[in-house]
């Protein structure tokens, strides 16, 4: 059975490293894996989405509406935007950070209130946490991606060592410690 993980956020938040890390572990676990990304907008503050699909044999590179087992979101509004892609029994793991999009910045739209509450009211499983504070606590606001991966790891059977090894494999040596700390903070106490 193919499992689907969508990673969504705002360009520049580091979703590509997160998907790479997940793909890396899944490949090592022997799954057939497909990772596809929306390129080009990654550093320009647009809405970005990455699909990670794994199973015995994966065909389609994309995740469609109602198919995602997990939506990992770097930002509240983006979690809400892709909500329709979640399976009825799927789970949203989201950072509670709010980043104003340009229509809000220029006053053409309002940032919606209490999106997490509204999603929960629809019966959606939402695991929301302040990843930015945890990332800063780990040493860099840029580590939000790894904090989220830490949180996601709670829902997978892989050992902590496997995730930590993926960090060592993918992150430049001088940032490994920081990211290991971010991962641990995201994962929290078992």
């Amino acid at each position: 059975m193919t499992k689907n993980v969508m990673i969504v956020g705002v360009g520049g938040q580091g979703s590509l490293l997160a998907s790479k890390m997940l793909g890396h572990i899944l490949l090592q676990e022997g799954y057939d894996v497909k990772v596809s990304e929306v390129h080009g907008m990654s550093q320009r503050g647009g809405s970005v989405v990455t699909y990670v699909r794994f199973g015995e044999k994966v065909y389609s590179p994309i995740i469609d509406k109602g198919e995602a087992d997990f939506i990992i979101s770097f930002e509240q509004l983006e979690a809400a935007r892709y909500l329709e892609y979640l399976k009825p029994d799927g789970r949203i793991v989201t950072n509670i950070q709010q980043i104003d999009p340009m229509p809000v910045i220029i006053g053409a739209a309002q940032y919606p209130e209490d999106l997490i509450g509204k999603m929960k009211a629809k019966g959606v499983n939402v695991d929301a946490m302040d990843c930015l504070s945890l990332a800063e606590q780990a040493g860099s606001s840029k580590a939000v991606n790894i904090v989220l991966m830490g949180r996601l790891s709670r829902y997978f059977d892989f050992t902590v060592e496997k995730w930590e090894q993926a960090i060592r494999d993918l992150v430049p040596a001088k940032f490994v410690e920081l990211n290991l700390k971010a991962f641990a903070l995201g994962r929290g106490e078992d």
Binding site: G66, K87, M102, I105, I106
Partner: protein, 410 residues
């Protein structure tokens, strides 16, 4: 995936053969039978080659498809349908298609956009479903294919409210912003080109009037001014990035100079190919590997093409941009403005400390919001700077009449 050592095959010996390689009319006519015969042989190859393959499954539906549509079809049907997967579609494998059609009850062609394979099947006299079922526009997906073929599709939940969109924007500190602000303020008609700076069309700057193809900005400006004459010449510019200019801007620029079109071209020189992820180009002095390479001097190039008016301006300096744009539009001859400052995301570009909002001075007039910088927002009626984004470029500072945006440098 495993990587192997690169194998460099020996170069073939070149043999001079004018009748084959020089396609003047007499040679081309004699060569035509060869081309036709080659297509015939390719056709035979298409029927037998490993890129076109039949995966027999259930025979109620037989799907002819290609590329990513194949993945969607497999996702939906697995082995429940038979699939002819085409890996080479010109020329199409006629025998393979006819043979496949014989084996299935209903033939369905799944291909995105134009019905190329479908039309070909109809030409072969086959009865197929295609665009009568699937849309002509947009990308397909597994749900779309399932739905159009009458299968159930999963549903997700949605919030009841309309969510604000999040379009991409120029980065904080983007050197293009100052020039686009100037063009917008002066109500200039801007014929744009392909690159990060296409985002100059996005609100609130909304500065770009047209973007079509690479190099099109310059040729279009020439044509625009030819058609509309003086009225247009004083308020129309082309904008094109350094890399796109190198790719296909020079031909249009030569046209302007040669035909003495009174046009103004702005080269937005951010010293890199930004949009696609920082590739070098012939104006940067480095090759694609980052090794030193030849460097084309833009000013010298424009002058050599016949432009007498070539000036360089720093897009972080709004007053200088304003003067340059006004003067070059007013000039009665072709001109080039090079708006030069390296992309703020380049590793060697040193950032200043984020600006600080002086809460006592800010009156909440939103003048600083006119440039559409993602680092500026309004919080409690006053401007707020996002420290993680602001690079201290100072463009917003120049718009504040109250001196409330203060440099973070000590």
């Amino acid at each position: 995936m495993e990587t192997a050592e690169r194998i460099v095959p020996p170069a073939k010996t070149y043999e001079k053969n004018i009748a084959k390689y020089v396609m003047m009319p007499g040679n081309a006519i004699r060569r035509h039978p060869f081309v036709e015969d080659r297509m015939r042989r390719l056709q035979e190859y298409a029927d037998a080659c490993p890129f076109n393959r039949v995966e027999m499954g259930g025979t109620e539906i037989g799907i002819i498809t290609d590329s990513t549509s194949y993945m969607y079809a497999k996702e939906v049907f697995g082995d429940k349908a038979s699939i002819l997967k085409l890996g080479m579609i010109n020329p199409l494998p006629v025998s393979l298609i006819l043979d496949f059609a014989e084996k299935v009850d209903r033939l369905v062609v799944i291909e995105e956009l134009d019905p190329i394979i479908e039309n070909h099947c109809r030409q072969l006299g086959l009865e197929v479903s295609g665009k009568d079922v699937f849309p002509l526009l947009g990308e397909y997906s597994q749900n779309l294919i399932a739905e159009k073929l009458g299968l159930p599709v999963p549903q997700g939940v949605k919030l009841d409210e309309q969510l604000p969109v999040r379009p991409p924007v120029m980065c904080a500190g983007c050197p293009h912003r100052g020039m686009f602000y100037t063009l917008s303020k002066n109500k200039v008609t801007v014929l744009g080109d392909i690159g990060c700076y296409t985002l100059g069309a996005v609100a609130p700057l909304s500065a770009v009037d047209m973007t079509l193809c690479m190099g099109g900005s310059i040729s279009a400006t020439h044509g625009f001014n030819k058609a509309l004459g003086k009225e247009s010449e004083g308020k129309t510019v082309a904008v094109i990035g350094d890399s796109t200019f190198m790719h296909s801007g020079m031909t249009g620029l030569a046209n302007i100079a040669y035909n003495q079109s009174n046009s103004t071209v702005i080269i937005l020189d951010n010293s890199i190919t930004g949009m696609t992820g920082h590739q070098q180009n012939p104006t940067t002095g480095y090759n694609i590997k980052g090794d030193p390479a030849g460097k084309i001097d833009l000013e010298a190039l424009c002058r050599a093409m016949g432009f007498n008016r070539v000036r360089v301006v720093d897009p972080y300096d709004l007053a200088a941009c304003d003067t340059a744009v006004k003067e070059e539009l007013a000039a009665e001859e072709p001109s080039v403005i090079i708006s030069r400052r390296p992309c703020a995301l380049l590793k060697y570009v040193k950032h200043k400390k984020p600006l600080i909002v002086d809460q006592n001075k800010c009156v909440g007039c939103k003048s600083c919001m006119k440039i559409g910088c993602p680092a500026i927002s309004m919080k409690n009626g006053k401007a707020a700077i996002d420290n993680t984004l602001c690079v201290g470029c100072g463009v917003c500072q120049q718009l504040c009449k109250f001196g409330s945006l203060v440099s973070g440098e000590v």
